[in-house]
């Protein structure tokens, strides 16, 4: 037996390094009839906002070569309904529960965090900073170091729970937001959120995504995720949670060698809902074949 325990700083430990990625696994209960949710080290929920959101008009998704673009527009049930409807399931869930939070203003992020940090069945927060900041003319929270550090500090002050910032790859230099969030007290960073992408229907001349530009995910972006993780790993000490196109056990190893302490499965849930089973089996095999006693030993061990 390989030791898959994963410590993400001082505030969170996982029974294995595989989490779900926000927006690709609902709140855990939706596909628990198909996938054994207990196999994951933890669940990261769909982004929650203060009020429920209908999300963007269709079309919201389109297939692209080895990937997809989505523009769901943060459709979600809002924090109140979440507590009402989803808490029961998540309370008895044995893995860790990480709530992904999105907002339009610092105030919104803070309000949600305040509401949720009291709940003892919640183990931590992932902050989706790829949202337009309406108080700052729509610039994304994650792309401006000042906006990002303001938000991170405020959130850090409000919770003693695990706090992770989810970084966008749509920046010139990922090291800047990575360093910023570490400096402001975040426990970890997760990366990458989706990459800007678009597609046009040549027959109707309409964008295949109603919001025109959406987020690219899936295997196509895996090399982009790896590059960003390698860069970030060189400048920060807090754990990196790797995301982007992970489909197989091999990919998990690749992300960890690049510097990820844990990973999230996203789009793969759509094309292979039972990926987690195959991945855990592969990790066992890889580690025993390579005499690795604890999966944590390979973090950042790529000879870059």
């Amino acid at each position: 037996m390989i030791d898959l325990n994963t410590k993400l700083g001082n505030r969170l430990s996982l029974s294995n390094p595989i989490l779900t990625a926000s927006g690709t696994f609902g709140y855990g209960d939706e596909i628990s009839d198909i996938v054994d949710v207990e196999l994951y080290g933890g669940i990261v929920t769909k982004s929650l906002t203060l009020k429920p959101r209908e999300g963007n008009p269709p079309p919201r998704i389109v297939e692209t070569p080895s990937g997809m673009i989505n523009s769901i527009g943060l459709a979600n049930i809002g924090v109140d309904l979440f507590l009402e409807e989803k808490a029961d399931f998540l309370k008895i869930y044995r893995g860790k529960v990480i709530i992904n939070i999105a907002g339009r203003t610092d105030f919104e992020y803070c309000e949600i965090l305040k509401l949720l940090t009291e709940e003892n069945w919640i183990d931590g927060f992932e902050i989706n900073v790829s949202c337009p900041n309406v108080s700052e003319g729509g610039i994304e929270f994650g792309t401006d170091p000042k906006i990002l550090s303001n938000l991170t500090r405020k959130l850090r002050d409000l919770t003693d729970k695990f706090l992770m910032i989810k970084l966008s790859p749509n920046v010139t230099d990922i090291r800047i937001p990575a360093e910023t969030t570490q400096k402001c007290g975040a426990d970890a960073v997760s990366m990458i959120n989706t990459v800007y992408g678009s597609a046009i229907d040549i027959n109707t001349k309409k964008p295949l995504i109603n919001s025109v530009i959406g987020g690219l995910s899936g295997p196509a972006i895996k090399p982009i995720a790896i590059a960003n993780i390698i860069k970030a790993y060189q400048v920060i000490d807090i754990p990196i949670i790797g995301i982007g196109g992970i489909s197989r056990g091999e990919d998990v190893i690749e992300f960890m060698l690049a510097g990820a302490s844990a990973v999230q499965l996203g789009t793969v849930h759509f094309y292979n809902p039972l990926a987690i089973n195959e991945i855990l089996q592969f990790l066992e095999e890889y580690c025993s074949q390579n005499n690795i006693l604890s999966i944590g030993d390979i973090i950042g061990k790529a000879e870059v």
Binding site: G26, I61, E63, N272
Partner: protein, 263 residues
């Protein structure tokens, strides 16, 4: 209960131009599937990552039937599958057609092209209950008609190019016959968006009970990606988004708001 299964192809035969019938072995769910539900077929090693949804067109003791048309790369691959080929499927998914609450209604099924699939399964169910429905099937031309005769329904065929049956589209055909079908009618439709729109309009005009099975591009088919939205008008809200894969694919005619820019 929906199940993810690795299973095998039992039969894969061409039944019309570009149209095939595929039999897939899934013994443990054949008893729980309902007409209107669909399944997901998964593909390995492809640049197209989404599974492909297909309506369940029938069941026998061990197998599920689907009827599919070759329209792109994945359905083309399917057309090469031979007996014994291993595939992964998730079934059953989505909701189903509802029987009419009244007893003496005329059941009318309206199919455009391969939209015939879920309605063939529904026809089987009706027939088992002793009901012989009216079955309108339209296609571009005679070579694309998935079935030519039927012992379980009163079949009405139409072709756009006048090569067989009624000359015109299936909605026009139905409209032209409406007078001679005993009232009240309960109508079930499945076809291309264009046809579904026309049916929804007709349903409201004629104050008919109508259920329509819709199609949307789907990433998961499971209700988790929130990608397959359709605008719905319901009793409680004027307009909101529903998920075709989870809240559908079958919707009441009066619920549907099919806007111009939806695919």
């Amino acid at each position: 209960m929906r199940k993810f299964k690795e299973t095998g192809v039992v039969e894969n035969v061409k039944i019309a131009r570009d149209i095939y019938r595929l039999k897939i072995k899934i013994p443990d769910i054949v008893n729980s599937v309902e007409p209107g539900q669909f399944l997901n077929i998964y593909f390995q090693d492809s640049p197209k990552i989404f599974p492909r949804p297909f309506s369940i067109a029938g069941v026998d003791d061990n197998n599920i039937l689907i009827i599919y048309k070759v329209v792109g790369s994945q359905t083309e691959k399917m057309s090469y599958w031979q007996k014994g080929f291993k595939i992964k499927v998730l079934a059953p998914l989505g909701n189903s057609f509802e029987l009419d609450s009244e007893n003496n209604v005329s059941y009318v099924l309206i199919a455009g092209g391969v939209g015939v699939a879920p309605l063939m399964f529904f026809r089987d169910r009706l027939f088992l209950m002793g009901i012989t429905p009216y079955f309108f099937i339209g296609a571009k031309n005679r070579n694309e008609l998935p079935i030519a005769e039927d012992t379980k329904s009163k079949l009405y065929l139409s072709t756009d190019d006048r090569s067989l049956g009624f000359a015109g589209n299936v909605v026009e055909h139905f409209k032209s016959m409406l007078g001679s079908i005993p009232k009240p009618v309960s109508v079930y439709a499945c076809g291309p968006n264009q046809m579904n729109k026309a049916m929804a309009k007709l349903g409201i005009e004629q104050e008919m009970k109508l259920q329509v099975s819709l199609e949307r591009v789907m990433a998961c088919g499971l209700g988790i990606c929130q990608g397959c939205t359709v605008k719905i008008k319901s009793a409680t809200s004027d307009c909101h988004y529903s998920l075709v894969c989870k809240d559908g694919p079958v919707f009441k005619g009066e619920e549907i708001i099919l806007t111009a820019d939806e695919r």
